[in-house]
């Protein structure tokens, strides 16, 4: 519990996370559903975003570790 030494996370901010998580859960669920519907109807937009998805892919970890060994 080293982090207890570090800084005050704010009690309000700790309590509120249950609410924030619930709201985010509902939104994520509905967006996901909407996305699937759009995908099914073939109206999902192409993505020209320069940023990746949140997940760290296994290939990211592996391909670079291979090049390190060389």
């Amino acid at each position: 519990m080293i982090h207890l030494l570090y800084f005050d996370p704010g009690l309000g901010a700790m309590i509120i996370q249950a609410i924030v998580a619930a709201v985010a859960g509902v939104l994520l669920f509905s967006k996901n559903l909407l996305y699937k519907i759009k995908l099914f109807l073939g109206i999902s937009k192409p993505n020209d975003d320069v940023f990746d998805d949140i997940d760290v892919k296994d290939s990211d970890i592996e391909s670079k570790s291979n090049s390190d060994k060389q």
Binding site: F7, G12, V20, V23, V50, D55, V56
Partner: protein, 459 residues
Amino acid sequence: MTSSSRHSSSFRDPSGFIFVDQGIIKRSISPLYFKQYNALKTTDFYKKLQHAGLLISHKELSVSKEEIIIEPEQVSFINYPYEWSFNQYKEAALLTLKIQKFALENGFSLKDASAFNVTFYKGKMIFIDTLSFDFYQDNSPWRAYKQFISHFFGPLLLAKYNGLESLKLMNSFIDGVPIKMVASMLPFKTKLNPFLYSNIHLLAKFEDKHNEDYKGNSKASSLSKKAQLNIIKGLYDFIKKMSIERSSEWGNYYDKTNYANDAFDQKASIIDGWINNLDAKTVIDVGGNDGTFVRKIKQELKEALVCDIDYNAVDANHKYVKQHKESYMLPFVFDVLNPSANIGFNNKERDSFLKRIEAYEPDVTMALAVIHHMTLSGNIPFEMSAEFFSKFSKHLIIEFPKRNDSWVQRLLNTKGEFKAHFDFYNINNFESSYSNYFQLIEKVSIDNSERVMYAYKAL
């Protein structure tokens, strides 16, 4: 290691500190953090993050009972949140969330989410605080949640709704923009969005309410891992989609300038020739817009710092870097009339622009189409701008637009009845002031224009 060599920015976290040993940045880890450090090492979590390019790499130098010393890869030019454009800021926020999700999946959690833990290096945002990880305690909320909002989400929302310059607030609020202030500044419509209402407005209320009856026993709340992941994913998706309406006054600057195409190419080839002759590996382009001129340099550069006052230009540069996976280009926001200062405790936590650039020692400083803005908009005498450039430049490539140049005329006309006060703006005064600080290498006039290029060497 004695604490006297401790770096002046490194005191907030008791897990360890940074120190400088003969010019090399090193990190001392205190026994308080040994358990975490060893777990992070043996589970290969560090390695995974480093291979994925998310965390700065390091090597272990020594291990004793008192301390472990590691040496991180040396970052050449640390840049701060208040120097990032909107999409750079977004990238840093997304990186932090991505790391937190990955940490949770591996049994760890970020114990802090400071924007100063991230810096732009080799073409991307990278996490530089190796000791920010702690064990994840089952069903505990994210302790750094509030910090994430005040360091990342708040400033990004302010930038979107109140103007990009809001990102500079991090200069005043070194530990994040107060959430109550963010809530008060955002437009009413943000209250109607349930995501923004819960993450900002309700949070501000909760913080306010629990501020006074806080007795230090924050045992109360619990939150499942799945719920925490919902917060992280929700923030990630929201931030990833955030965009700004561009009013690109400078964005397509090169379409609007008074350059004929030939003159533009000639200017580029003059610069390229000089950079080549000087065998420059590192440059800083002051007022470099979206990096167009630096990209015209054919000589291979190790690193190019390209800064501009215009957020859209820096953003355009950043987008180009991401799309073309460039690693040598480092765009950042910079106001030559007010460079970043030394801030934080003892004025030593975050270094000023001058301090960092003096240590960086670029081979060449480029200042193209900047001097007339400094002199005529900023009223900075030639003598003073010459002194400024001489502080950190080994060589200076500077472009001087003569009095008859249309931009100069435009700037002079805005002076109205005081126009005569700026009669000193001419090529002779420029050359004589700059000769006090620099030795002329070469001078070339650009054909069919009112502009002259100079290559100088510092005296």
